[in-house]
């Protein structure tokens, strides 16, 4: 029976909001926050265990909580939030209806069931296999079932996104070309298809093996296909994060991409090539050749990295161009100094860009080169790298945009706005210290996923250089600060969403919606639209080259190997 969609007209943005879409967005966002809560409690326990001055958890629980933490951050928190974002970008942003509400509820049901089942199995001790669950390690079949249910639900949500786009196009609700935010989400959705289909290809046989239906799964095949799920899952995050950056720039400063064609081409490069770099995880593995490794790890001659470089310029340039049009043209950086730093979405976005670029991106590209991987694989430098990308980058960006989602989607005023202004800084500084300490420890050779780096009870006890002690302290303090930043965000979000005063109209917006600034006329492209951003990106490039030189120098000092 066809039920006509019910809309409300948003009195703040003028967009038509499908009520079912709104409900689904809210619920997915709530489960995202719940998963993050589970993950951050895990994070606290893990930081206090690896910091061996405390060494809180015993070995078995360390590996168990590590499994829980990885699952709930890299999969559950992020995918629930992204599904909310996909629905938002394909319905509300386009003033379009949700194409199949009942299917949307089914997707949510599957995702929630999978999330709960997997988490319960891990906590009950039936899946001490870490998020990667490398075969021949084997978990209980219910654990794999939980993952599969979640993945199927997420895949349905992704198809609903595409369905919504088709419905919106046919209904003609937005004109010919998708808004850039939705376009970036479409890139994320395409990568999500790659991710989840790879997941099905690997988890179904593994599930059957855990039931005893098939005799085994080849470990090399498992790792290859699993990372076809694992790494693209993070590339969904990259695409979604960049989309959120553009959105945040628009909401906080009214800035738009200085060249839509270039920004869209960058998203297309993500779609076509970014998933090849799943090979990053197999660079020091047998069975696959160097030819395969070099081609795939390079994202096809670094074309997908070029895409990130484009966004690294285009997003700050959007802000700079808007600010310059407002009259902040003095010197190279007045536009930045006079930007709305008091707006937590703005500060979160800028910190996310800097953190993702300088910490996550630089380490990612260099550690992902075939040979330099030799000196970092499975050391603590690897989690240090991805704290820079997924935590400082994606998660902070998502946290930041939530300060607009609370009034616009949940229709509540933010409770604790004063604290909210500090939250991005507390979190960003904490994670930055944590990530840098981890990279430093990894450079010293400290392993990741390891309960005791004093090796007590082992036949040979290795000791790391004394400087490691200092780095562990920074690790501990940074980690605690980061945990504080997350708990602060969760507190603000929960209080606002459930107890915040309801929004009565545009006058209740605590964070302003900036006046959109149209692009300045630049007929032959002769003018410099963002000189400040250009300087910043060149500084970034210089930093990259220094880190490149350091790592290849360190590699050259090791033993010969061929």
């Amino acid at each position: 029976m066809y039920r006509a969609p019910i809309f409300r007209m948003c009195d703040i943005t003028g967009l038509q909001v499908d009520r079912t879409a709104e409900r689904l967005i809210r619920l997915n966002a709530v489960f995202a926050a719940l998963a993050l809560l589970v993950a951050v409690i895990g994070a606290l326990l893990l930081v206090l265990t690896r910091w061996q001055s405390v060494h809180l958890l015993p070995a078995q629980w360390y590996y168990r909580i590590l499994t829980l933490h990885g699952l709930n951050t890299l999969i559950f928190w992020i995918v629930f939030f992204e599904v909310a974002g996909l629905y938002f970008g394909s319905t509300i942003v386009l003033s379009a209806p949700f194409c199949a509400p009942r299917v949307g509820w089914l997707a949510l049901l599957l995702m929630v069931a999978g999330f709960l089942l997997a988490d319960v199995m891990v906590l009950a001790g039936y899946a001490d296999v870490l998020m990667t669950s490398y075969v021949p390690l084997q978990a209980h079949w219910l654990y794999y079932l939980g993952i599969i249910l979640f993945a199927v639900g997420a895949l349905i949500a992704v198809f609903l996104f595409f369905g919504n786009l088709m419905v919106a196009r046919r209904a003609g609700t937005y004109g010919g070309t998708l808004p850039l935010f939705t376009y970036g989400l479409a890139a994320a959705a395409i990568i999500a298809v790659i991710t989840l289909v790879s997941g099905a290809i690997i988890y179904v046989p593994t599930f059957l093996w855990s039931l005893g239906v098939i005799p085994g799964v080849d470990p090399a095949l498992y790792k290859l296909v699993w990372w076809g799920l694992g790494h693209p899952a993070q590339q969904i995050n990259v695409s979604a994060m960049v989309s959120v950056w553009y959105l945040a720039a628009y909401l906080t400063t009214g800035g738009v991409s200085v060249n839509e064609r270039v920004s869209r081409i960058a998203f297309v490069l993500y779609i076509l090539f970014i998933c090849l770099a799943s090979a990053h995880h197999l660079l020091v593995d047998p069975a696959v050749s160097s030819v395969w490794k070099v081609w795939n790890t390079s994202y096809a001659m670094y074309l997908a990295v070029l895409a990130s470089m484009i966004h690294a310029f285009a997003v700050p340039a959007a802000i700079e161009a808007a600010q310059r049009a407002r009259g902040y043209t003095r010197g190279l950086f007045q536009w930045l100094a006079k930007a709305p730093w008091g707006n937590p979405t703005f500060s979160a976005t800028v910190l996310s860009i800097i953190g993702f670029g300088f910490i996550g991106g630089i380490t990612g590209v260099i550690y992902g080169m075939e040979q330099t991987n030799i000196i970092v694989h499975n050391t603590l430098a690897i989690p240090g790298h991805f704290k820079g990308t997924v935590v400082l980058g994606t998660s902070l960006a998502f946290m930041g945009i939530t300060y607009y989602l609370i009034p616009l989607v949940f229709r509540r005023r933010i409770v604790g706005l004063g604290l909210a202004r500090w939250q991005p800084w507390i979190f960003a500084v904490g994670v930055a210290l944590l990530a840098i300490a981890m990279v430093g420890l990894g450079v010293l050779g400290v392993p990741r996923r390891h309960w005791d780096v004093t090796f007590s009870g082992a036949p040979f006890r290795h000791s790391f250089p004394a400087i490691a002690g200092v780095l562990w302290v920074i690790f501990g303090l940074g980690g605690l600060l980061a945990v504080g930043g997350v708990l602060l965000w969760l507190g603000i979000v929960v209080l606002s969403v459930f107890f915040g005063p309801r929004m009565e109209g545009p006058h209740d917006m605590q964070l302003p919606l900036a006046q959109p600034v149209p692009l300045q006329h630049n007929p032959d492209g002769k003018k410099f639209v963002a000189p400040g951003t250009l300087v910043a990106t060149l500084v970034f490039l210089a930093t990259f080259l220094v880190f490149f030189w350091l790592n290849w120098k360190w590699l050259a000092a090791t033993w010969g190997v061929r």
Binding site: V256, P286, T297, A317, I374, H450, V529, A530, G560, V561
Partner: protein, 193 residues
């Protein structure tokens, strides 16, 4: 507009000078990175090998034990110590939760290491040199190492392999020359069972 469809003429908008310049610089860096990896394969001293073989865990265990007996010079902390001739094969075995054997190498000589596991995935992490490779059950990863400094080194396991993961450490001695090797041999002669 990120929330609205782009302004009319978005496709035809010329690229501003600074964006164009940045993209050109970025593109050159990207190409350089790609060719750098290829170049390092030709001129660099450190490259993962593309040599692997299939071998069942039991068969590898058998080969390993036979090889250990051939070149055994003693024992340390319950682990056999082996001194293979320079230029020959080293059959390292990873299992829950030990590395076997302890190996004595000569500085500057090349050895053909075989890395294989008999149960789960393990991580070969040579410290403090800091070289890291994966060790699989069912596969033999062949890597030719050439130590460039003398000393005592440890092999850590850095791939999670169960509750005893942190107990899994091994050792590598690198001696300066044949005379030093003799001295080490004498030292271990006392420990021969």
């Amino acid at each position: 507009m990120s929330l609205r469809p782009p302004a009319e003429g978005w496709y035809e908008t010329p690229i501003a000078r600074d964006e164009r310049g940045w993209v050109a610089v970025a593109m050159s860096v990207c190409l350089c990175l790609f060719f750098w990896m290829i170049g390092w394969h030709l001129y660099g001293q450190q490259n993962p090998s593309s040599i692997s073989y299939r071998i069942s865990p039991s068969e590898y265990m058998q080969l390993h034990l036979q090889w250990v007996e051939r070149y055994r010079i003693g024992e340390e902390n319950g682990v056999p110590v082996v001194a293979p001739p320079p230029g020959s094969d080293v059959l390292l075995l990873a299992q829950m939760w030990r590395w076997s054997p302890v190996v004595v190498l000569q500085k500057g000589q090349e050895y053909t290491f075989h890395l294989a596991s008999v149960d789960l995935l393990h991580g070969f992490s040579l410290q403090p040199v800091n070289m890291n490779f994966m060790v699989y059950p069912g596969y033999d990863y062949v890597l030719r190492f050439r130590p460039r400094e003398a000393g005592e080194f440890h092999i850590l396991c850095n791939e999670f392999c169960g509750i005893g993961h942190h107990l899994m450490t091994g050792k590598v001695y690198v001696v300066e020359n044949a005379a030093e090797l003799e001295r080490l041999r004498q030292r271990f002669r006392g420990s021969q069972p």
